[in-house]
Amino acid sequence: MSGSGVAEAPAPATGVETMTYREALRLAMRQELERDERVFIMGEEVGLFDGSYKVTAGLLDEFGPDRVRDTPISEEGFVGAGVGAAMLGERPIVEIMTINFLLVAMDQVVNHAAKIGAMFGGEVRCPLVIRTPNGAGNQLTAQHSQSFDGWFAGTPGLKVVAPANPADAKGLLKAAIRDDDPVLVIENLPIYKEKGEVDVDPDLVTPIGRAAVAREGSDLTVVAHSFATVRALKVAERLAAERGVSLEVVDLRSLRPLDVETVAASVAKTSRVLCVEEGWPSYGVSAEIAARIQHACFDDLDAPVERVGMAEVPLPYAKELELAAMPTEERIERAALQVLGLAG
């Protein structure tokens, strides 16, 4: 391994290609595995099985078992192994099959990875990436349908990103891998198959800490992240077409750091806000967003900030019940109209 760990770059591919979110993540990992020998992937079924959600498919063949390492089922152990390796300067990418299983490794993430920089007086850092999907909607039931995004975003020492489209999936994952701090990359189960255009340039990264205006509009700001952004964009299209109202969709992209400025600029324009998230809203991400907005935009708001998220129940199995609990386009639309005073 070379001193810097950075290998000679191959002639960069360029151009824009249409691909799924899943493929964009894989592209980001392939590029970074090629670029930097310190990068390696670790997780359950990431190799031989091609990834339980196929995100890492093919990478074992390409890079071998040292770079794409299958682990036993022991999340606490191998997340911690990622922490230790990162402290020595590796760039581990740890895949957690779904965010629900991060609960058994919580101590390594929150009490260890997040503490290293500060607790040791800046003497050592922890450039670890954890990738994991959240979300519900496939009848996976109570223990497998959660989104703990805000818990990690509320932990000083961590950074948290949650891309909502393939281009950002590639760009933010690359940014996370190159970042010198522990970064949680929150993916999402239904989003893996979403398609979009991706600039394949290996040098292109999406900066952490910058929200994006995913759609411009003038009547209402919808603030979302991850799959909720996809939902919000569809509602925006429909409401534009059917009701002639103009929704601006702000995609947070990064939850810590949080780009309050971009949100506030949008609210200054629209004066009305709806926050949407895949998780439970009480004490969730949308709580922080609403709190920030009422503070930053106190004089701009024409109506209280509303929130839509998952119904606050452990997710039930039955299709009908699950659907009733989800932050569906219908519920988002209804809430949007309500904030706009157009409900009823």
Binding site: V104, A142, A318
Partner: protein, 358 residues
């Protein structure tokens, strides 16, 4: 503590007894086949883990339970529920997400249960059921009951920290619990050799000075005999133990997995030669059960499974109005009065999109 590899069972079930157990095994196989079909027809959703191939381990162990013993399992649990006597229609209705499912359509494939039969679930986090099982065993001890808990887990679960903590607590506190490791050689696509530094899993019992035993999990009688002995020691002497049953799953990890990326067709074929159904049927025949009797039983079971599917299909889904039912115990409404929609400061749909309480 003794660690025993492959006991030969002196158990010699009489033909009627064996007949009944074969029936349950056959029911499980046919049920799983039906579940797979229904899953592919999109009438069952979520994760759906089948246990075809593991019937002897399942039925053998459950047969060793007394009526008031308790059972706790992981998510690959259809077979265990059926073996414990949960009616196939209640299980199938659960897989369909229907109101008369054994968890009223809220648990699905991974979270079956039947408290009236001492079956306390159906859990989805690998090894998460182990600490719970020891808590149940602790409760039995507190109440001075001579009962035991059988806690099922997979070979992949033995590398989780919860395994270690639970076995240690069970041993330090002398709890009546038998940990039954259904070793089907793989945890998803990872073989036991790649996952466990001690692939002879039963030997890990020694780290807690408790008994560990491995049996041929495709031999119904061997499983039952060993389980009965260990459960008896648990009940009477409060000795926890590990029982490892070597078996194989014929299907993929879940219905969504073809099950071929990490093992060969040949391997699967070879294992099919040890099919516990075939073996048990053979020993039934050897013990003089008439072929027509066996065939009649099989036809009966097939009809039963079809009836279960029909029942599930006809059953109503749970009412959406009661989305939040069960989340909190009866009596909680008052506590939530000031947070709910409808309360003066409640936000529409924020907390409960449906009713609260039972």
């Amino acid at each position: 503590m003794a660690v025993i590899d492959r006991t030969d069972s002196p158990l010699d079930l009489d033909v009627d007894d064996l007949f009944g157990k074969y029936r349950t095994m056959f029911l499980i196989r046919r049920f799983e086949e039906a579940a797979e079909r229904q899953y592919k027809a999109a009438r069952i959703g979520g994760y759906c883990h089948l246990s075809s191939g593991q019937e002897a381990a399942t039925v053998g162990a459950v047969s060793a339970l007394e009526e008031d013993d308790l059972l706790v399992t992981g998510y690959r649990c259809h077979g265990f529920a059926l073996a414990r006597g949960v009616p196939p229609e209640a299980v199938m209705a659960e897989l369909f997400g229907r109101a008369n499912g054994c968890a009223h359509g809220r648990g699905g494939s991974m979270h079956l249960l039947d408290v009236s039969r001492g079956y306390y679930g159906g859990w989805g986090i690998v090894a998460g059921q182990l600490p719970i099982a020891i808590g149940m065993a602790l409760s039995l001890v507190r109440r001075g009951k001579e009962q035991a808990v059988l806690c099922e887990l997979g070979d992949g679960a033995v590398n989780m920290g919860a395994w270690h903590e639970s076995l240690n607590l069970a041993a330090v506190w002398n709890l009546p619990v038998v940990f039954m490791v259904v070793n089907n050689l793989y945890g998803m696509g990872t073989s036991v050799e790649r996952a466990s530094a001690e692939p002879d899993i039963f030997k890990r019992a020694a780290a807690f000075r408790i008994e560990g035993e491995r049996v041929d999990g495709d031999d119904l009688e061997e499983v039952e005999w060993a389980a009965a002995r260990l459960l008896r020691a648990a009940r009477q002497e409060r000795k926890p133990a590990v029982l490892e049953a070597l078996t194989y799953r014929y299907r993929g990890h879940s219905v969504a997995d073809a099950g071929l990326a990490y093992r060969t067709k040949e391997e699967i074929e070879e294992r099919r030669h040890e099919d516990p159904l075939v073996r048990t049927r053979e020993s039934l025949e050897a013990r003089g059960a008439p072929l027509e009797g066996i065939e009649a039983l099989e036809a009966e079971v097939e009809a039963e499974v079809e009836a279960a599917v029909a029942y599930a299909e006809a059953d109503a889904p749970p009412s959406v109005d009661r989305l939040a039912a069960g989340v909190y115990a009866a009596g909680s409404e008052e506590q939530f009065e000031r947070m709910r929609p409808g309360s003066p400061a409640g936000e529409e749909e924020l907390v409960f999109a449906g009713g609260l309480g039972k």
